[in-house]
């Protein structure tokens, strides 16, 4: 983390996201925003509020409903001198753009031996728990962590959101910037004015502990912290909680060091268990820390089902009970 600014303001995560874009639009002529309803309307979550008015329709652009079009054009713009920030209205609507991301945005550097590069940021609200309609709540980060050529970033608070988004816009390669909707207004954190970075690829230790390393990200940070608090209040167990923040590339050092200290691990995420990023974390621990492990690694994850309609989404989401049970399971093993 590098901070050059001094003044801070308390803000919500969505304000942190907006602040980052505001800062970068102001500082860099090549930065631009495009997406559905990001202009006049200021975004369906208000992430781009006021930016159209301040920077004009050439820099904050309402596009047709055309996700493949948005990413495809962003590639052309990025290769030809711009740094587009493309908004997918919800992560569940990124699928029509899958081909453009998979075969072009992420491969153009390799395909052209470095001649063409794609400094593109794709922003997308995601995750369950806000009573959104079907498809809107998908947690499909693992579709992208396995996609060579892109980085995947997930802040859980305003400070990280602003710093990570600035870092993502400055990154010379495509970055998928996931915004857990449940975090948008769930808390306020102090956020410095001006430009600062939170380094991509670095996890954040939210709480130190000795008995188990609990890895999570996005909105599950909220529930994990709650669960750990409850558990520590009633049992003699000390948990280390780590917000991974970047899902590709994972922060190998931090993960390995923590597990080597505690000897146990649990991973919490809301995407389905099968194919979830938890499995990459498990592999990493297997590779780095096999001899340190005192219990099987615990996963608390969504089910191998689609995210259901919202009357069932609280059943779908990992509960604090399940998190506690998993931690105890490892500790009592």
């Amino acid at each position: 983390m590098t901070t050059t600014a001094i003044n801070t303001k308390k803000m919500t995560m969505i304000q942190g996201v907006r602040d980052a874009m505001h800062e970068m639009l102001k500082e860099h002529d090549d930065v631009m925003i495009l997406g559905e309803d990001v202009g006049v309307n200021g975004g369906v979550f208000r992430a781009t509020e006021g930016l159209y008015e301040e920077f004009g329709e050439d820099r904050v652009i309402d596009t047709p409903i055309s996700e493949s079009g948005i990413i495809g054009n962003s590639i052309g713009l990025a290769v030809n001198g711009f740094r587009p920030i493309a908004e997918m209205q919800f992560l569940g609507f990124i699928y029509p753009a899958f081909n453009q991301l998979m075969t072009h945005a992420t491969r153009l550097r390799q395909r052209s031996m470095g001649r063409f590069t794609v400094p593109l940021v794709v922003r997308a609200p995601y995750g369950a728990g806000v009573r959104a309609p079907e498809i809107h709540s998908d947690s499909v980060e693992a579709l992208f962590t396995q996609m060579p050529g892109i980085k995947v970033v997930v802040p859980s608070n305003a400070y990280d959101a602003k710093g990570l988004l600035i870092a993502s816009i400055d990154d010379p390669d495509p970055v998928l910037f996931l915004e857990p909707m449940r975090c948008y207004r769930s808390s306020r954190t102090e956020v410095p004015d001006g430009k600062y970075n939170v380094e991509i690829g670095k996890a954040s230790v939210l709480k130190e502990g000795d008995d188990i390393s609990v890895f999570t990200w996005g909105a599950m940070v909220i529930d994990t912290m709650k669960a750990v608090e409850k558990l520590e209040a009633k049992k003699n167990v000390s948990c280390e909680v780590i917000d991974l923040r970047t899902l590709y590339p994972l922060d190998k050092e931090t993960i390995a060091a923590s597990v080597q200290k505690t000897g146990r691990a649990a991973i919490i995420h809301e995407a389905p268990a099968t194919g979830g990023v938890s499995n990459d974390v498990i592999s990493l621990i297997n590779d780095t820390s096999f001899l340190y492990l005192r219990a099987p690694i615990q996963r608390v994850a969504g089910f191998d089902t689609p995210v259901p309609v919202y009357s069932l989404e609280q059943e779908y989401l990992p509960s604090t009970e399940k998190i506690q049970t998993a931690i105890l399971h490892a500790v009592d093993f």
């Binding site: 559905e36 191998d304 919202y310 009970e321």
Partner: protein, 356 residues
């Protein structure tokens, strides 16, 4: 292209017949029944907006202003035909036979919302824009392959025409000559984005030229024009003459959804003015008045009838059994995989085990 695709009307804004030749032999009673269906839909819509404000249902998608487009078109279908709605087309699905209770359950995030009564072929609403058009060509193609005369009708908005799936569906429909009606509700906006930023063309109808399919543009607020245009498209489809693209020009009065504030992107005065000018119900009221077929008493009676229907459905909805966990697991595969089975078991074990 505006000249090539004039907006066809049968009854104009003043309630006057401007094209009597396209009216067939429709009776005043039938027109009154169209009015009834539109009123029913409007009253349900207003009720839902209200229920949402009261917190009795979640985010709601209103269609007020689009009743003629949805009802005129759905009335042209027959039992056994297929309907592919979007999230905004519950006036159409209701009219085609969906259950009002289930529609209300939908706005409580209940899966029953997607399930129409047995025998009523309505797909779960298409959420990813334009994706449902391809199911409509596929299902219609199946009918054609079987040699039946059933057809499919699919709804989609002006914004939906920008998606690749719109194009692929029209091309499939055209190449395989599927019995499909592509029914576009051009309500002028895709959330906040006006038609002129969605496309350069002034019409949506002209997009049919790219596929050599029948295409036309009608006043989507004129329920008669909608009904007869859809009927002839349906007939053509049944006769093996292939798909039709209908652009029904309309307007939504309300917000995109109850979570949105339309005054951020359009002047709501225009919308309010439209209630006096292009409104689909008012136009029929005016027409019926010119025919001396309008009775306030009738209106009162049907309003009461509809109110009762809505209240009954609402009560049923509100007293509906709580959602069951099995709904989350049971319908992912025909037979749950061991992964899902194990997850259910763990879930139930934890629920039983820790009590907070």
């Amino acid at each position: 292209m505006l000249e090539q695709f004039p907006m066809h009307q049968i009854i104009n804004e003043e309630g006057e017949i401007v094209d009597s030749s396209s009216m067939g032999d429709i009776t005043t009673d039938e027109i009154k029944s169209f009015y009834y269906k539109m009123l029913r839909a409007r009253m349900l819509d207003k009720k839902c907006v209200h229920l949402q404000r009261q917190g009795r249902i979640g985010t709601y998608v209103p269609y007020e202003g689009q009743e003629a487009a949805q009802i005129g078109s759905s009335l042209a279908l027959q039992e056994g035909d297929w309907m592919f709605p979007t999230y905004r087309d519950h006036a159409a699905t209701l009219t085609f036979g969906h259950s009002m209770r289930n529609l209300l359950l939908n706005w409580r995030g209940r899966p029953e919302g997607n399930v129409a009564p047995e025998g009523v072929n309505i797909f779960p609403p298409g959420i990813p824009i334009a994706s449902q058009l391809l199911h409509a060509t596929g299902a219609a193609w199946a009918e054609k392959k079987r040699g039946s005369d059933r057809i499919s009708l699919v709804y989609f908005g002006d914004g939906a025409t920008s998606e690749g799936d719109f194009h692929e569906a029209l091309n499939f429909g055209s190449v395989f000559n599927t019995p499909t009606v592509f029914f576009n509700q051009n309500n002028g906006y895709a959330i906040s984005v006006p038609m002129k930023r969605q496309m350069k063309t002034k019409t949506i109808a002209q997009k049919g030229l790219a596929y050599d399919i029948e295409c036309l543009r009608i006043d989507g607020n004129d329920v008669l024009s909608v009904y007869f245009a859809t009927q002839s498209a349906v007939d053509r489809a049944r006769d093996g003459k292939g798909p039709t693209l209908i652009e029904a020009v309309t307007w939504r009065y309300g917000a995109h959804t109850t979570a949105d504030d339309p005054s951020k992107y359009r002047d709501q005065k225009e919308t309010e003015a439209r209630r006096e000018t292009t409104d689909p119900l008012l136009r029929i009221e005016r027409y019926l008045k010119t025919q001396e077929a309008w009775e306030e008493e009738w209106l009162t009676r049907i309003e009461e009838e509809i109110t009762l229907e809505i209240e009954t459905a609402l009560t049923e909805m509100e007293s509906y059994p709580e959602p069951d966990l099995s709904q989350l697991f049971d319908y992912v595969y025909d037979t749950p995989t061991w992964t899902i089975q194990e997850q259910v078991n763990n879930h139930l074990a934890v629920q039983g085990r820790t009590t907070q």
